[in-house]
């Protein structure tokens, strides 16, 4: 008899929906159907049973083809690579559990690795801004229960965080928001008319690259100062009107995404958005939140935070001190400057997201990728170690975009004999210990 697993956490995006229902086969091996998840989330679960999944580690041969090897062989190769390399980039972590990250950091400390996560090409600029000016924020339940002014700035949850709007930000009826959508005023600021903009009461089309100026104009208007006729393509009357509406709300929130973090101005855009939020607190309650992408990229920042004090790009290559400097210890810059001797990728696909020059540099170095699936990165790796899918075939802690930790659930068994991230990392850690005790690789 197929059975339903309830309260399942979706391991796709930072929204971390925890109400998914998955029907699994009687033998706990196959996922039959997925309810409540969005199309992307459901696909993530359905991947589990796709034919052609790699079930054993593969090692690149001199002729360029892959050959299946044992886990032990792959782990030994990886440990030797880590011990031999004086500086290894250990990038990824955004799609694995916090428990696995902890083991990875222990390895990095021993071999002098640089631990970085995908914030480095995503919300890293938000983190820099927070290091500059702090951030007034809240949990997503606060938005659901209180928010009556919601701004989406440079983000498109309709596509990137599909259930965000129905669970937290636009439609739900909360304690003080009994009218749901009708009780909220929704704003969308973007350079394009997105599907999120279609849900908004007010769409503000900002000229591309002028977000900083527009944010600054909002601050100016909030203080009642004079504005030029248009700012970033938006007429001043519109800006004054929106600011007055925001002030008239009881609880406002700004959600922002890549449209702010990776357009002209980058971290300065976020600085300005945070300062606007701060200013608005002189008139009403206002908060701001980054729309984090990968389901556990926030978790990587948290674990790095409590272990080393920095949220990403943590250089442990000195072995007695952790360092963090954007531009110096960040992955893309390290690769572009050819500063690392080996690459260790886990639970993220830099091949699909890094600039081409960085990946060309990476492809010339000994590389290991730990990932459940074949992806762009596995194809330039010397060794690919497939693992169980975290959040589907094994549980573990993850942090939502508002930093709320949720323990993901195991819904089905992984393929026979397949190891988890934690198991693979523990074995690598032990092998590294053995090699170091013997005096190196």
């Amino acid at each position: 008899m197929p059975k339903d697993v309830t309260d399942v956490i979706c391991p796709f995006c930072g929204t971390l929906c925890d109400d998914v229902v998955v029907t699994v086969s009687d033998d706990n091996k196959t996922i039959l159907s997925v309810k409540n998840a969005c199309a992307i989330g459901a696909e993530k679960f359905n991947h589990q049973r796709l034919p052609g999944r790699v079930k054993r580690p593969r090692m690149r041969q001199p002729d360029g083809t892959y050959k299946e090897v044992s886990y032990d062989e792959a782990i030994d190769w990886t440990a030797k690579m880590l011990v031999k390399s004086r500086k290894t980039l250990m990038y990824g972590w955004a799609s694995t559990s916090c428990q696995a990250m902890s083991i990875g950091h222990e390895i990095a400390e021993k071999v002098g690795g640089i631990v970085d996560n995908c914030a480095t090409v995503c919300h890293g600029s938000s983190l820099i801004a927070i290091e500059d000016v702090g951030v007034p924020s809240c949990t997503l339940g606060e938005v659901k229960n209180r928010a009556d002014r919601v701004i989406f700035w440079g983000c498109n949850p309709a596509h990137a965080h599909p259930r965000h709007m129905s669970r937290y930000s636009i439609f739900p009826r909360g304690f003080f928001t009994v009218k749901g959508h009708k009780g909220r005023k929704i704003y969308c600021v973007d350079c394009r008319y997105t599907d999120t903009a279609k849900c908004a009461d007010t769409f503000i089309q900002v000229q591309q690259g002028f977000d900083y100026e527009l944010l600054d104009a909002f601050r100016t208007a909030a203080r009642g100062e004079a504005l030029p006729d248009t700012v970033g393509g938006v007429p001043k009357e519109k800006i004054y009107e929106v600011v007055e509406e925001l002030k008239g709300g009881r609880f406002g929130i700004i959600f922002f995404g890549m449209g702010l973090t990776h357009t002209m101005g980058r971290n300065h855009n976020i600085d300005e958005a945070i300062c606007l939020t701060r200013d608005m607190n002189d008139f009403t309650k206002f908060v701001i939140m980054a729309m984090r992408g990968h389901w556990n990229v926030t978790g990587s920042g948290q674990v790095l935070g409590w272990q080393y004090g920095f949220p990403y790009a943590v250089d442990l290559s000195r072995r007695d001190q952790a360092r963090h400097q954007t531009g110096e210890t960040t992955s893309v810059d390290l690769l572009n400057r050819n500063e690392v001797e080996a690459c260790f990728y886990i639970a993220t696909d830099p091949g699909a997201h890094f600039p081409i020059n960085a990946m060309i540099s990476s492809s010339k170095k000994p590389t290991v990728t730990i990932d459940p699936h074949i992806n762009c990165t596995t194809e330039i790796s010397d060794v690919h170690i497939p693992v169980a899918m975290v959040g589907v075939e094994v549980g573990g802690c993850a942090y939502r975009m508002d930093n709320v930790p949720i323990e993901t659930r195991k819904v089905v068994e992984p393929p026979e004999g397949m190891l988890t991230d934690e198991e693979v990392l523990t074995k690598i850690n032990n092998r590294v210990d053995e090699l170091l005790a013997k005096g190196g690789a």
């Binding site: 925890d18 109400d19 949990t139 339940g141 409590w306 007695d320 802690c397 930093n403």
Partner: protein
């Protein structure tokens, strides 16, 4: 397990009333015993001070706001981030050290237990992840309840049994230790950008006052018979003239009787009292109200306090008192972090520089010391820095040096830039008292252990208690006269035994011990209404499902559960 005998040390143990006499302490199987076999390893403690391991009663060392402080302040790592000798991991940070450093530093100072002072229930998993990664010391965490919707709704109708049943449920879900209250009502008001500055300000919508919340929680706490009392961070923290609210809050304990099986005698622990003992009407005429507050504390026996000593450092303030952090940001304009937590609480973080050249900071420094020096019963007054709010916990040795030597503190007091102004607004210059080693053991060991309901195992050196022992390089007959020497001795324990294992030797970490996580399982009669309310709140208002709320066992692999039974209450 190995046996030890600690010979010839000067023992200070308030539990047995030993005041520096030479006495041998025997250790076997993690406990202190009457005697050990001749094969026991001998530790020579000649000319040294021997005390039980110290207990931290209130510090912010694990959890979401602590971590926010860590990663939004990369600059904090510049002050102190080098690896020290010993078998340690990388250490980082000064006012908000990483978890590894937190464990090592406490151990080096002779601590074996720390209470995380504010755990937002929704973030309990995070708190426990950090506690899990903090080496050596035992820890527990207090869930914050003073602005919780369930609590406010039940207490508005005087439903003590429902309140208690909810507390019991929540502590099981979060693996929590007791009842923490932070700016009762004020933090909920902050969700609308407001605050409750007196204990009679009604909470928006919930229509209950802070006084009613605190009285109700005290009653529920004693109904359950929890090991620790209600632990309160009062309203109107940090404002001139707040001492009246402080005394009014303390008066709420009058007539409330402790009821528990742990030997605890207080019904309210009022934390970081320094921040609540201010006279004056603004920062210009700001002065100490330590005398007024301590006169009341000294005569009211069913309350305990901790000091919240300002250490005159650059630090990172963090509290569930959300409106206060916004207010502080308005004063110093440094970066402001805030998070409001649905149905439960909020938190804020703002860096702060306690500059000795600013008279307000110097006066705060005086007030913290005055509170400890005016305390008539050292078993009810504990030394804290409200880490990291008034200063990092790593400054305890320096705080001890100020308290234990009038010479050392007068040197500091008289060299403030505005010394005359500071002396004129405080009592410190006229206080001659020096805290003795025995009193220090009361204020940092036996006292906090009793207050936390842990006196059976912690805070003393009696046979049967945990073999948590700190040995300091201090000869009580030749007590050091200069500050740095006192600091060095208390900052680098000659030995630290944790559960009978030597974890620190000569100030170096040599063993990770086996840390335990404490939590309290309070049994109450089945309560269908509360379970119905829980279900409804999760269905309608929380952003996580009820089944994803509890902290799983794996987060506290070495858990120590204290069980209380209130089913017959």
């Amino acid at each position: 397990m190995s046996e030890y005998i600690i010979k010839n040390g000067h023992v200070f143990d308030p539990v047995q009333g030993i005041k520096g006499d030479k006495k041998d302490i025997a250790v076997k199987d993690g406990k202190i015993v009457e005697k050990v076999s001749s094969s026991a390893k001998v530790i020579d403690a000649k000319d040294k001070t021997v005390m039980a391991g110290a207990l931290e009663v209130h510090a912010h060392v694990a959890g979401p706001k602590v971590n926010a402080g860590r990663w939004y302040r990369p600059e904090d790592k510049h002050f102190d981030s080098h690896k020290k000798p010993g078998i340690t991991r990388i250490e980082g940070g000064k006012s908000i050290p990483t978890v590894f450093k937190t464990g090592y530093e406490y151990a080096r100072m002779g601590f074996t237990f720390a209470m995380e002072a504010a755990m937002p229930p929704l973030y309990a998993r995070h708190v426990h992840e950090e506690i899990h990664d903090t080496p050596i010391i035992d820890e527990a965490a207090l869930p914050v309840l003073g602005n919780n919707w369930f609590i406010m709704e039940y207490l508005k109708n005087n439903e003590v049994e429902n309140t208690a049943a909810y507390i019991s449920w929540l502590m099981r879900q979060t693996k929590g230790y007791g009842v923490k209250v932070v700016n009762p009502g004020g933090t909920e008001a902050w969700a609308w950008g407001l605050n409750c500055l007196t204990i009679h300000d009604p909470v928006p919508y919930f229509d209950i006052t802070p006084a009613e919340i605190m009285t109700g929680l005290m009653t529920a706490n004693e109904y359950l018979g929890l090991p620790h009392s209600m632990h309160v961070h009062q309203n109107d923290l940090g404002n001139p003239g707040n001492y009246k609210t402080t005394i009014e809050t303390l008066q709420l304990a009058e007539g409330v009787k402790p009821k528990n099986t742990f030997g605890r005698e207080q019904v309210m622990h009022s934390t970081h009292l320094q921040f609540h003992s201010y006279k004056g009407t603004n920062w210009g005429d700001f002065e100490s109200a330590a005398k007024e507050v301590m006169d009341y504390v000294n005569k009211q026996k069913n309350i305990t306090i901790d000091t919240g000593n300002v250490t005159l450092d650059e630090t990172t303030t963090m509290t569930a008192d959300g409106p206060f952090e916004h207010h502080l940001h308005g004063l110093n304009h440094l970066k402001w972090f805030n998070v409001d937590v649905e149905l439960e609480t909020a938190a804020g973080v703002v860096p702060y520089i306690y500059d000795p050249n600013i008279s307000v900071c110097a006066k705060q420094w005086c007030i913290g010391l005055e509170i400890a020096l005016m305390a008539k019963d050292p078993m009810r007054c504990f030394i804290t820095t409200d880490h990291p709010n008034a200063g990092p916990f790593t400054r305890y040795p320096r705080v001890y040096s100020w308290l234990m030597s009038k010479k050392v503190r007068d040197e500091r007091l008289n060299t403030f830039k505005n010394a005359d102004k500071v002396i004129g607004a405080t009592y410190l210059a006229n206080i001659d008292r020096e805290i003795t080693l025995y009193e220090l053991a009361q204020m940092t060991r036996a006292g906090p252990a009793k207050c936390l309901g842990l006196m059976k195992d912690y805070g003393g050196l009696k046979a049967g208690m945990n073999a948590d022992i700190a040995i300091y390089d201090i000869n009580p007959d030749k007590f050091p006269s200069d500050g740095p020497a006192i600091e060095k001795a208390f900052g680098n324990a000659a030995y630290l035994f944790k559960d009978g294992r030597i974890c620190v030797e000569g100030g170096k970490v040599v063993d990770m011990g086996q840390k335990k996580t404490f939590w309290v399982d309070a049994k109450v009669p089945e309560n269908k209404q509360v379970m119905h309310d829980v279900r409804e709140k999760f269905l309608r208002y929380y952003s996580v499902n009820e089944n994803n709320y509890p902290v799983p066992e794996s987060y506290a692999p070495h858990q120590h559960i204290i069980t209380v039974d209130a089913t017959k209450a």
